[in-house]
């Protein structure tokens, strides 16, 4: 009996050893967190920076410090979960590329390193864009460094518009709708054609109408937040969005988002003559036969007479509070935010709007026609509420639901706004 028991124990140990050895051989291959030469881990978001830009930052960083960089590109789906769980561990990534609207929640809960003392050093004499710095500033403390900005502009197919008899770039809302009416008439035979493809769930697009009419997402009074879609101005904006969406975007698009099917693909396939987006690279990838010359861009004009305020999208670099290499991480972020990288790569290669007003001025000189539309649009920009709970609303996709139920007509504008406000009031105030 005793011998048999030993046999059992033996069999167990062999099994465990097998697994253990497999583990260690697998664990050895990552090398990122191990000893030896220092390596920092950077989480970059998919679609934010090209590998070329990241390589340039890494090369400069490695030259300056001798440390290596492990860049991991993260996908957007479920990113708040990914970052929250990673920030909880003792070995989080050293640098995070965080969407500007998402910084607040991590920062307010102590997940990110306070960079206030290093702010001047990191700014390197430049003035960061408000749309990027403001959401990264909680109670006067800075928690992230602006990386780049992006603004949405109308991208249109020059050929299609010319064929329909549109010759001048629209500068007012009336000119835009007149142009779209012509395009719509000219393409009446194409099934599922959208003169302007604006899918119903595209809340960044819908927000522009709300802001243009003077509405706000939410307003703060002391500690109390109030969601603002029910205000008369916002309702007017939502009505305008509905009217525009139903007039110029295919009926089917009312419940869709921009990713599935992808709006760039739809544009590339010739099923629409115009979309609202932050850059043209997706279209060029989807249809390699198109070049920048085939495309025109301009800021979306608003009913107010001005261009529609755009949501200033963009990303910030943040350092987790528990980072094991915060000194090195700071060094890396400083390089990423430096005027040289911003001008040569973030603007030059990736085509984004640089993180500072000086950067934008410097870029003006070399701005191509296509890029100009995005830069012009950025001149009138707004951001989501600097509320730590805003992330919850974003990740629940409640805003998508608001706009798509309005576009599809499944709810009246007032009902949709009211039910969104009720839920948002609770979330924003942490109830």
């Amino acid at each position: 009996m005793a011998i048999k028991k030993i046999a059992v124990v033996g069999a167990f140990s062999v099994a465990s050893l097998l697994v253990l050895s497999a583990c260690s051989s697998g664990g050895g291959s990552d090398g990122a967190s191990g000893g030896g030469d220092e390596t920092i881990t950077v989480w970059a978001m998919d679609g934010d920076y090209t590998p070329e830009t990241l390589d340039a930052i890494n090369a400069e960083f490695t030259e300056a410090t001798g440390a290596e960089v492990d860049v991991q590109v993260q996908t957007w789906d479920g990113i708040t979960t990914k970052i929250s769980t990673a920030l909880a561990t003792n070995t989080p990534p050293d640098i995070l590329d965080v969407g500007n609207t998402q910084v607040a929640s991590y920062a307010a809960n102590g997940g990110l390193l306070d960079l206030t003392d290093q702010a001047d050093d990191l700014a390197q004499g430049h003035t960061w864009l408000d749309g990027l710095v403001d959401p990264a500033t909680i109670d006067g403390q800075l928690y992230a460094v602006p990386g780049f900005a992006g603004a949405r502009a109308v991208i249109y197919n020059k050929q299609m518009w010319a064929d329909a008899g549109v010759t001048a770039v629209p500068t007012t809302y009336e000119e835009l709708t007149a142009a779209l009416d012509k395009v719509k008439a000219a393409n009446a035979d194409t099934s599922d054609f959208s003169a302007f493809y604006l899918p119903g769930q595209y809340w960044f697009g819908g927000l522009q109408f709300v802001w243009d009419a003077g509405g706000e997402i939410a307003e703060q009074d002391g500690d109390e937040w109030t969601s603002g879609f029910g205000s008369p101005e916002a309702i007017e904006g939502l009505e305008a969005f509905k009217e525009f969406q139903t007039s110029y975007s295919s009926a089917a698009s009312a419940t869709l988002n921009t990713l599935e099917p992808n709006q760039n693909q739809i544009f590339a396939d010739g099923k629409t003559s115009a979309i609202l987006n932050t850059n043209v690279s997706g279209i060029l990838t989807a249809n390699p036969e198109m070049t920048e010359d085939d495309l025109g861009t301009f800021p979306m004009p608003g009913l107010s007479g001005d261009t529609q305020p755009v949501m200033l999208g963009g990303s910030n670099w943040a350092i987790p509070a528990k980072s094991q290499n915060s000194e090195l991480a700071l060094e890396w972020v400083k390089i990423a935010a430096s005027p040289e990288i911003q001008e040569d790569y973030v603007y030059g290669v990736d085509g984004w709007i640089p993180n500072s007003s000086e950067g934008i001025e410097a870029a003006q000189a070399t701005l191509s026609d296509v890029k100009k539309g995005f830069f012009d649009a950025a001149l009138n920009s707004k951001a989501t509420p600097p509320n730590p709970n805003w992330t919850t609303i974003e990740s629940n996709k409640d805003v998508e639901g608001l706009f798509s139920s309005i576009a599809s007509g499944s709810q009246s504008v007032e009902d949709a706004a009211e039910s969104f406000d009720t839920a948002a009031d609770q979330t924003l105030n942490g109830e």
Binding site: G27, D30, W76, D77, L259
Partner: protein, 310 residues
């Protein structure tokens, strides 16, 4: 659950006999069928096959299509210009072999652990009477009722404080936690299907408990071991959310996490790379399909044998 069919106790031990019986049955089928082919049944079965095979066919079909054919408003039911590009792109997305290795290590570990531990526990719960046995059985049942994501929360926090997150061990233990109670429960059913007279006879011949287990019982519950290994394998091989939540470093991702990451990949600008995703799904599925084809006979006959004493 205590009713037994006439053939139950026999089938676990004496499958060859069943097979012979099956063979003679199918011979009589043939003669009858010469007279009357069941056209209606065949038609229904054909429709069923088309419906059930279609998703798999469509996956493979898509995997071989170039992008332009994939995104066309009239679908092509065969690739016009078959290409392997999707496969190259899929394998090039991250590091396929590393993810495969991660999946294999963790899943193999979890299956071995839960089957070996479960086998002993099932033997104890079916062959011995002791105080607390009922409590254990009830506990094993209740655990099945926890929503799968419920255990994830405390495991995440506990493993985090033990620095087990982002390691093979952490993930493996999480799978064992999900699979072990079920394995015990299933294998116990198989033990119960074996007549206790067999043990008693062996004991009278002077066999020790250990010998009774290893020489008599374990070989007889082999179908049960296979069946529960397969269930354990399916559960852990398919897991997405635990691996997604636990594994921070991309080098530690498992295949399902890798596959799902195609959804927003390739620049976020052209949406899901369906060609690459379907090619990846094909690669991910082939080994499992082959494995299932090989073991299915054992599995199904094993299940129906163990079924009687669930």
């Amino acid at each position: 659950m205590t009713t037994s069919t006439p053939s139950t106790t026999r089938s676990a031990a004496a499958r060859p006999a069943d097979r012979a019986a099956g063979a003679s049955r199918s011979r009589s089928h043939v003669s009858r069928r010469l007279r009357r082919i069941p056209w209606i049944s065949c038609a229904i079965a054909a429709v069923f096959c088309v419906l059930w095979a279609f998703p798999v066919y469509w996956m493979v079909n898509t995997a071989f299509k170039p992008q332009s054919e994939m995104l066309s408003s009239t679908p092509h039911f065969l690739p016009q210009n078959p290409t392997l590009d999707n496969f190259f792109r899929a394998v090039g997305q991250g590091n396929f072999l590393v993810y495969l290795q991660n999946s294999v290590i963790v899943v193999a570990g979890a299956v071995i652990f839960s089957i070996v531990l479960g086998l002993f526990a099932a033997a104890a719960l079916s062959r011995f009477r002791f105080r607390g046995r009922r409590t254990i059985m009830v506990f094993l049942l209740i655990v099945q009722m926890l929503p799968g994501t419920a255990l994830l929360i405390p495991q995440f926090l506990i493993f985090n404080s033990l620095n087990l997150l982002d390691t093979y061990w952490g993930l493996m233990f999480a799978y064992v936690a999900g699979v072990l109670p079920f394995s015990i429960w299933v294998m116990r059913g198989f033990f119960l299907a074996i007549p206790v007279e067999l043990d008693e006879a062996a004991r009278i011949d002077g066999a020790s408990t250990w010998q009774v287990l290893t020489k008599i019982l374990f070989p007889l519950v082999m179908p049960g071991i296979i069946a529960s290994s397969v269930f354990a394998f399916i559960a852990s091989w398919n897991d997405y959310i635990i691996a997604y939540t636990f594994m921070k470093d991309q080098a530690h991702y498992t295949l399902p996490v890798w596959l799902a990451s195609f959804s927003t990949a390739s620049g976020g600008q052209i949406g899901t790379d369906y060609g690459g995703q379907m090619a990846g799904a094909t690669l991910f599925s082939i080994p499992v399909v082959v494995f299932f084809m090989i073991i299915q006979r054992n599995l199904v006959s094993g299940m129906s044998a163990g079924a009687v004493k669930g």
